[in-house]
Every structure is written in C-alpha cells, then in structure tokens.
Amino acid sequence: MPEGAGPGLRSGQAEPASPARVGLAERLTEQRYRLFPDHVVGEILAKGWVDNATPFAFLLIVLALFGSLIPDFFSGASLVASARQLGEFGCVVIGQTIVLVGGGIDLSVGSSFALGNIVALMCINLAGLPAWAAFGCTLAASGAVGLLNGVLVGYLRLRAFLTTLVTLIIVRAVVDVLLLHEAVPISMGNSNSAVWDWLGDATVAGVPFSLIVWLVLIVGGHIILSRTRPGWHVMAVGGSRRSAHNAGISVRRTVCATYVIAGLLTGLSAFLFAARLGSTGSETGSGLELSVLTAAILGGNSLGGGRGSMAKALMGSITVLAITNGVVRLGLHAGAGPLVLGLFLLLAIVVDVRWLKNRHKILSKVYISPAYQRLAPPASAAADAGTPYAMNDKLADVEVLGLDRVDGPEDVIFDRNDHMYTGSRHGDIHRFLAPDYTRHEVFAHIGGFPLGMAFDRDDNLLVCVGGMGLYRVRPDRVVEKVTDETNRSRLSINDDTRLRLADDLDIAPDGKIYFSEATTRYEMNTWPVDALEARGNGRLICYDPARGSTRTILRGLRFPNGICLAHDGQSFLFAQTWACSISRYWIAGPKAGTTELVIANLPGHPDNINRASDGTYWLALVGMRSPVVDLSLRMPGFRRRMARRVAADEWLYPNINIGCVVKIDDGGQVLDALWDRHGRNHPMITSMREHRGYLYLGGILNNRVGRYRIPGADPDWTGIGSYWGARA
C-alpha cells in the first residue's frame, strides 16, 4: 500500500483470526505483502513510457562504453563540438519520428538534405541572397520533396518504402546534376551575409545554436504530438488507418502532412549544416537515411506506426551520434562505423519487434499481483444452522418482471410516479411503466454500463456508469456528465484521476454525491480479476455540486460497492465486497470524517445497500464465501502462480453464483435473510430496492427484475420519499 491506507482500510479489514492459529511463516508472508508493493511492477509495465526504458538503458550503456574507452568523452568542449552536429541531425530524426508515428517511413531524407544543402549554398554563395531568403528557399526545396512523398504516399496510396526509395534516387540525381554545374562556383564563392556567417559557428550562452533549435523543436513536438488534435490524428492514423478513417480523421491529409513536416525539418537541418560547413561534397547526406532511421528506431519508435514520441527521438539521436563519433574517435578502420551502426539498427529492430509482440504477454503475467488477506471463518448459512443467514426459500416464487428485455440490471430504482428504472449492459437506461411494469422503453442511452442509481432532490437520475464516471439523466432525458475524474494520488503509478469503475452512489442531504469506485486497477470488463488480488484497490469519492469539485475521501478499500445514506442522514453505510464487511463513514456529527466497522466477516460478498421502510437496510450478498477461496487469500504466492500458469477461466474466483438479501439495522445486527435456494429466478443478486411494500431485485448477470412482496411492509413507503419527502 503506497499510501492512503486510510481509516477505511483499517476498519474495513476483517477481524484477524486468533493469533495462536497463525504460524510464523504466514506472519512473514503477511508482512512481506504488506511491505513490498508488487503491483507497482505491473503498473510500470503498463505505462506508455516504459517503452522508453530499453532505449534509455541503451543510451546509458553506449555513453558508459565510449565514456570509458575515450578519455575526455564527457569534457565540456568535447560535448559542445558534438552538440552542434547533434542539433542538425536531431532535427531530421524528429521529422522521421513523425513520419514513423504516422505509420510511414521516409528514406528520401538523405537526398532531401543534400538538396537543401546545395540550394542554401546556391542562394548564399551564387545568388547572394540574404540569409532569411536562403532559409525560405531551402525549406521550400526540401518541403517540396516532402510534399511529393506526401502526395504519392498519402493521396495516391503508394507504398511508403518504395516510394521514398525512388524519391531518394531521383532527388539524389537532381543534386548530382546541380553539383556538376554549380559545385565549383559555389566552393569558390563567398557569402556576404553576416547572419549566415554567424549561424555557422553560433552559440548562445555557450550552447550551439542548432542544439537550441533542436531542443525547442523537441519540446514543441512533444506538446503537439501528445497534447493536441493534429498530434493525436497522426498517432491515430499510425495506429490504425481504418479506425482513424472511421473516426472521421482525414487519413490522406494527415499522412501527407507528416511527410511535408519531415521535409521541412530536413530543410532546416540542411540549412544549418550548409551554414556550418559550406560543403558541396557529393557525399553530403548520403547514408543519412540509415543513421536517421537507426536513431528513430533505436530510440524506441515503432516501425509499425502509432507508437513514438519526441523523447524517443531525443534518446535515439544522442545514442546514434555517440556511436558514430565514438567509432571515429576510436580510430577504427573504414566501414567500422556503418558496420556498428548497422548492427545496432538490427538489434533495435529485433527489440522493437520482440517487445511489441511480448509486452502484453509479460504484462498479463505480472499485472495481477495478489496480496495477503485473512478472514475469520464466517457464520454458517446452512438451512439448519440457526444463524440469521440460514438458507430458506422466501424468494422461490418471486414475480418476474421484464424477462429478457433487460440484460444486466445491476440496480433498480423508482421515481415519484412509480416508474421503474434499470440499467443494461448495452448502455441504456430502461424505464418500465407503472402500474404493471409490462410496457417498457429505453429511457436514455448513455453508452457505458449503468450501475448504481439514485434520484436527487430535483428528480434527476444520477447513475454510476462503469468505464465512464458519474452521469445525470434529467427528467427530460438529457444525459449530462457530472464528473469523470478525481484528484490524483501523489504516489500512484497508474493515473488514477480517471474513474474506471464508478459503482454505486448516494446523495447526502446537502446535495453532495458520495460514490464508490470499486477498483482503480481493472476495467469494467475485468473487474472479477480484482478479487484475485484482495488488495485495497478501490476508493470512496465525493462530488460537491456547489463547488463542482471531485475529491477522493477514502482510499485502499477492498472493492467498495454499495453505499447508502443512513436514515438519520448523519453517515453513509458502505460495503467492501472482497473484505466481506460493512463500514460506516460519518459525514456529520461529532465523528464526521471518520470511518468505523459495522459488520465484519460476512458469510458472503456484500453488494448494494438500500433503505428499508422500517428504518433498517437491505443488503445484497452477490456471492457466498467458500473455505477454499478464504484459504487462497492467505496464500498470495499460490494465487500469483495460478494467474500466471492457468487459463483465466480456470482461476479460483469467489463464488458469485448464489447469494441472498439480508436485512441489517444501524447497529450491524443481521435481522433476516431472503434466499432463492434453488437458484431458479435470482441466483445472483446485486441490488434490491423497496417500493410500496415490494422488494425489487436486480442482478448484474440477470435478464430480469424480480418482485417480492415483503410481509408487513408499509405499502406507501417509497425510497425517493424517504430521501426527499413527499412532493408538495
């Protein structure tokens, strides 16, 4: 538990078994899982930036290697000399990275670079243009090469590899023709531009100008690629052209733009290069495409597109330049440089391919990280046990409503006109019309999986939507987002600001909405896996409508689920499904802000809690505990091996095939239990709602809503009335 082992967790933990029965080995196990946050490994591997770890390690190895082989590799002057070249080289790598991220490849950068170089020199040395005009011409020339690539690859849909290979050759030929006629005059000519002369050797506060340009581009490029619409478009197109097209992105224009950008950046680089060296050599830019590609791939940008960043371009550029310069400084023989570079490129491609292929496998093996949990043996629920949980057949002949019309009514609720609302797996909220609930309609479409529901003072239906957050459906059916994020925990590795699995909510008298998020480590479709971890991955969150703010109030809860405002409005009762406990969180009175345990060691896994008409509460037990699962909770290593070695459908899960409804009072006394022992109608119950003398039963895996007549219940009592009073 990195942090937030709040009062919720401590009080939420079940009572430990008597110490005598826990051996030393198990105590050590308990401490080991308490102290070492295993789940961090999986969360780090799940991070986007973990792709950078390999290239970064590579960079460090290369720097360490050459740093130890070459005496003053890291001396200041030596670094400045390399940095100037790095700036120019890096600009081209940025362009290549953008093309790669967009799903393409640009081999023509070498020729485009040579073209830019000679155009710049012709402008300065022959035409005598001022530096800015020469800059414009250079960008235009290299940009035109990019545009040609872009039109061919983006609009005419030619293969990027072959197309840019052809432009590489064509543009190189153009450069050769230009060189034949202009090279000697250029090398004899002289610039009369002071800016040009300055550019060639410029430093700003000791830092080479080209390096500054590059770093600015890296930062700007990072913001564009990761934070803006055009950048996301490039990412999306590279990730999957079809999906991007279906999402309404102009794939052709985006692809074309990446090549134009690469061309412009190549032009910029060529301009700086021309100013530095004034060289018209025909070897200018030859082989550049290889080293640029090596840099981009070595940095960790994927050849397949959709994965890449400026940080990777940065690391790759430094690595490749360190290698090329290092090889030269070691005085190795001809061909050694390209050879070493080629080997590194090969290695980078292997790592890229293998990593992409295996990353999710490794992740799926290590992401699940069970923790230690010890639950005392529960009270028996056997029919003849004599406990309040004893099995019976009270729910055997419940009335079935909406059979096959709803899929997954996790929660059920009624409005002031007695209409019944439930969610469904398809992202709809269904309304069954009073009085007989045979007619039904889709009340609103939300999109995620609607879970817990509550009406507020103004008859708005508030819904926790799995995968989306907290939503509000107004009586006129308009759907509004209430909140989908909360404050981030300081030390969490997973970004826990987004709500992954908002589960159930209730509303305080002052209008604040308290809701549970079952887990921050799993999504709506994988929530049962959270049971395997038995770690406090969930939290309780409060949305304050007055300030529009969302804050996490309790962390480290073990799958917090149902939440219900007590009848006196002073506290909330909430259930922790995997901890098999009910706790109370005080919002008013002397104990405000504290949590206390109400029921520990339930025989089943609690789900929703709702008010009953007689001042008590209904509690759904979604499944019953079993001794095997209880034992496995004390053996985290066993569960980890199971998760790694056995197929997911063979895992040992808590039993959620049979459950019941129990009635509890404010003091935690269990008063009654309602069972469907044969499991014909309602084997699994996730929620129940009392309304006008009946109890309506929902289940997240059911295709129906059950209706049970409660003997002796107040036939006029309604939930909404109990919260907000009868309407005037």
Binding site: D72, S75, A77, S78, V80, A81, S82, R84, Q85, L179, L180, A183, V184, I186, S187, M188, G200, D201, F273, R276, L277, G278, S279, T280, G281, S282, E283, T284, S286, G287, T324, N325, V328, R329, G331, L332, H333, A334, G335, A336, G337, P338
Partner: protein, 328 residues
Amino acid sequence: MRLRHFLTALAAFGLTLAAASAQTADQYKGKTVAFVPVALGYDLEDGWSAILKHQADKLGYTYEVRNPNLNSDVGAQAISQLITEKPTVLVIQNPDVQVYSRLIKKAEKAGIHVIQINMKSVAPSDYFVGADYVQLGQQAADMMVQKCGAGSGKSGKIAIVQGVLTAAASVLQMQGIDAVLSKHPDIKVVSNQAADWDSSKARAIMQTVVQQNPDLCGVVGFWDSMDVGTGSAIREAGKAAQVFLVTSGGGSDTACTNIDNGTFGAELSYDVPRQGSDMNKDILAAMTAGPAPDADKVTQITPLKVLSKETIGTTGCWTLKQLQAAAG
C-alpha cells in the same frame, strides 16, 4: 631497382631521425599528432599513415588517426573534436576546398599546427605538403595533345573523369587542363563528369562514354584507385588499345600493376614515401617551434614522376607492406 627507391626513402627517415637525435627524445613525450584523412583503406592514406606512425613510435609521441570514411561531416566533427583535445600537430587531407576551412582557422587560432596534405583548402595553414595539381593537369593535358591532337591521326576526342568536383585535386587539375586545352582546339572534351573518387562510379560513367563515343581517343582520370574502374570499363569495351588513359596517384604497386597490364597508359605520380617524410619533417619543426604556430607558411611541393611502361622498370612502385616493414 625498387630497392634503391627504398634506400632513398630510408635515407629520408634517417635524416629526420638524425635531426631528432640531436634533441633529447623526451622533448616529444606527451605530444600528439592527429591525422584526419578523407578515408582510410586506400594506398595513399594508408601509406601516409604508416610513415607518420613510424616516426611517432620512434620518437615516443602519440599518433592517432580519425577516419571519416569519405564523409566530410564526420570529418568536420572529428576535427572539431580534435580542436578541443588540442593535439600538437593536426594533419588534414581536405575532401574539398571549402568544408574544413573554418575549422582550420579555428585550429590554428587554438595553437594547433595544421599540416594540409596533398589537397588544399581555401584556408591556408602553417604547412602544406603535396603535389602541384595545376602542373599535374597541364602535364596530363599535354599527354592528351600529344596522343590525340592534330597530327596524331586520332579523333581528338577525350573524356575527363574528375574526383569530387570541389576537391582541390579536381579544381586545380581542371585549371591546368583548361589552360592547355584552350590553346588546342583540335582536342574535344566529349565528357567531363565527377566520379567522386569512387571506382564503381567511374566505371559506370566510362561505360556510357565509350558507347556514346566509339572513337574516343584519350581519358584523363584524376586518381588511380578510382581509375581502376575507368580502365576496366575501357577494357570491357575492347578499346584498351585505342583509348589512352592517363591518371595520377601515389605510385603504389596498384599503379605499376595496372600500367603493366595496360589498364593505365601512364600515371603521374606524387611520391607517397617522400610526402610522408616531408610531413614528418614538418611535424618535428612544428613540435620544436614552440607554443604558437609560425606565421610563415611552409609549402613543400612534391615533384611529379611519370610512370609508364617505359619507366616503371627503373623507378618501381612501393607497397604498403614494404612501407610498414621499413617502418616497423
């Protein structure tokens, strides 16, 4: 006969050694000579490097070589790097007249003695050792006039295969050629292209030229290692007897072999062992000259030798092995 050639080379070493032994050997300790060629792996550069290394080993100073492998950007980077490392002497072979000029000035300003070998930059430095390429061009053109010009009964058509266009060797040689040919309208240059010191490029160029001009009479190639390609294209076309190829280079055994087998008609040779010992002398001078480079520029022009079937018997060629053996 080759032995005599070697004896002269050894005598040159001996001279430098004698000059050196007058000083205490310690005076060279801790000093460094760095060499940035255009590329290693060719007779020219490897020959120079062997000779430079030999003296360094004898006198106890450090010798290192940085190989840009035909990439002037890498070379510029290597020189920038060396400027920060401050060797005593920097030996540079310029890939073109412009590219290192700023760096040469910078190096000299930093107190490093710069020797430019064979190919000059527009920026002059303390020392230059090398051939007079203008004269070399004139001699080559004279040969063309003699073999193909009026009175020879040939077509008068010649081709020129340059190296890197902006390299001093190309620029200056063209000046020499132009000076001669301007007086000889009977010689017609049918092709003047750059093969960038690359023999496969030269071969590709010459294959086309020979097809387009079946009556080609002569070719001026700018470097023997490259013109191995030029010559093979001519021989492939079956024109070895008709086309006279004159090239230039360091006069290693490559030259002799190719003259022997008729690939080259003649080679204008600047003597690599001699250039090496000239550089070694300059290095000693620079090392004893004190901290600041001399204001005087020292230029040592390597005399040209004409290698042809008639002369190789007497002058001979050198091999790298012999140079290394003599040095080692």
